[in-house]
């Protein structure tokens, strides 16, 4: 009987140990990964909800692929004028409506344009945003990649007609939860601060030639 009891105890202990190891922590904690997105940048699109230009820009951010990709990488904040958020945080510092503003995670404005100064195509807006970012980060585009930066314009697909105005009584689609950082632009269509490659080579050849000529003169003119 003693041996049976001992064996039972051993079995129970072993099974408890294994349960602990197999199941991990035996509490009811729900483990979640909180998004460490404090490094994400912010894009604010500010405007009057009834303004066609504002609606168009919002549409660009959901339909144009590069802008949609950018939207997923930043904290995207559509702000309607006359809202409390607008009154408290934008009214005093926007130059006009609609406004598109890109800020880094510290709030430093990297790009801002309003009203007529806004590009009138989604490609233009993306280019302007990308250009501002690369300027801020001081990343020159390599000369041989410049032609890739601005693709030739091609006729776009016909826009799908929407049955009515968008429903402004709904909150925007929630953004993906991820660990964010500064947005990653595909191409930055800005002028490089470096001179073109051919100019650098030409300068090298001319300088070398001049040096040779001077030396030639020094050596043979004396003779």
């Amino acid at each position: 009987m003693k041996r049976l009891l001992f064996a039972l105890c051993v079995v129970l202990m072993t099974s408890t140990c294994f349960a602990d190891k197999v199941n991990g922590v035996l509490s009811e904690d729900r483990v979640v990964n909180l998004p460490n997105d404090q490094g994400k940048w912010y894009v604010s699109v500010v405007g009057n909800a009834n303004d066609a230009q504002y609606q168009t820009i919002l549409k660009w951010f959901s339909q144009d692929i590069p802008l949609r990709k950018l939207k997923a990488q930043v904290h995207f904040c559509p702000v309607k004028s006359f809202s409390s958020t607008y009154e408290a945080r934008y009214a005093a510092n926007v130059k006009g409506l609609p406004t598109v503003r890109l800020q880094n995670h510290q709030g430093v404005v990297i790009y801002e344009a309003a009203g007529k100064n806004l590009p009138f195509t989604p490609q233009g807006l993306y280019g302007a945003l990308a250009g501002s970012v690369s300027k801020a980060q001081r990343i020159p585009i390599l000369p041989w990649r410049r032609n890739h930066a601005r693709p030739c314009p091609r006729p776009g697909p016909c826009p799908t007609p929407t049955p009515g105005p968008p429903d402004f009584n709904l909150d925007p689609e929630p953004q993906p939860i991820d660990d964010g950082k500064a947005p990653d632009f595909d191409e930055a269509p800005v002028q490089s601060s470096l001179p073109p490659l051919w100019l650098m080579l030409a300068t090298l050849v001319v300088s070398a030639g001049a040096g040779l000529a001077v030396e030639w003169k020094d050596i043979y003119a004396k003779k």
Binding site: D29, V32, L34, P35, N36, D37, Q38, Y42, S44, H75, F76, C77, P78, S83, S84, T85, E87, A88, R89, N93, R101, Q103, Q106, G107, V108, V109, E112, N169, L170, D171, P172, P174, Q175, I177, L194, P195, M200, T203, L204, S207, A208, A210, G211, L212, V214, E215, W216, D218, I219
Partner: protein, 191 residues
């Protein structure tokens, strides 16, 4: 011939010096002085939800705090719906089931894990924290290595700055429950 060679090398090495100088010794542009907004979660007055008495004669501090945070995170319509639908006292499981029912994205701790508060402040979302032995919830709108800032739904007109240690001690002595929705925080004021 030697002199010619030296001259050639000199010429080649000096070519383009001017162009490269800025790259070798970059002149750093004056970095703009960034004065981070304080508190980090600077909820506009009009978005702050005051506490109210529910139909069971209980205060609705948890719901009021969540509504303020939802508005700060751009979920105005969700916040308005929440105000119309829910009231009275709340506890972690009850709120979690309501969030699940409404499809709200949220995170919480009821174990007094300070890392949760630091995360909520760092990501500018803020969170509700229990105080007064668990009888009340306020919004934690800032937490740094010295200070914490609270927005009490019983007195929404002003922030209350308290030492970090005092807030953490109060919170841990009040069941250590902290909760927040997870959406997009309002953009910082331009610097």
């Amino acid at each position: 011939m030697k002199r010619l060679f030296v001259a050639l090398v000199l010429c080649i090495s000096l070519t383009g010096c001017e162009g490269d100088f800025n790259q070798l010794n970059p002149i750093q542009p004056k970095k703009p002085t960034v004065n981070a907004e304080r508190p980090l979660v600077n909820i506009p007055m009009a978005l702050r939800q005051e506490n109210w008495i529910g139909n069971q004669r209980e205060g609705s501090c948890v719901h009021a705090t969540m509504i303020s945070l939802m508005r700060w995170q751009g979920r105005t319509h969700l916040a308005n719906k929440w105000k119309r639908t829910y009231a009275n006292g709340e506890w972690p499981e009850g709120l979690a089931s309501k969030f699940d029912r409404e499809g709200v994205r949220y995170a919480y701790t009821d174990k007094g894990d300070v890392r949760f508060l630091e995360w909520a402040s760092r990501t500018r979302r803020g969170c509700g924290i229990t105080v007064m032995g668990g009888a009340h919830m306020v919004a934690l709108v800032h937490l740094d290595d010295k200070w914490a800032c609270l927005l009490d739904n019983n007195s929404i007109s002003k922030y209350k700055w308290v030492s970090r240690e005092a807030v953490i001690a109060e919170w841990k002595a009040s069941h250590g429950w902290a909760v927040t929705p997870i959406y997009t925080p309002a953009a910082p004021k331009p610097q």
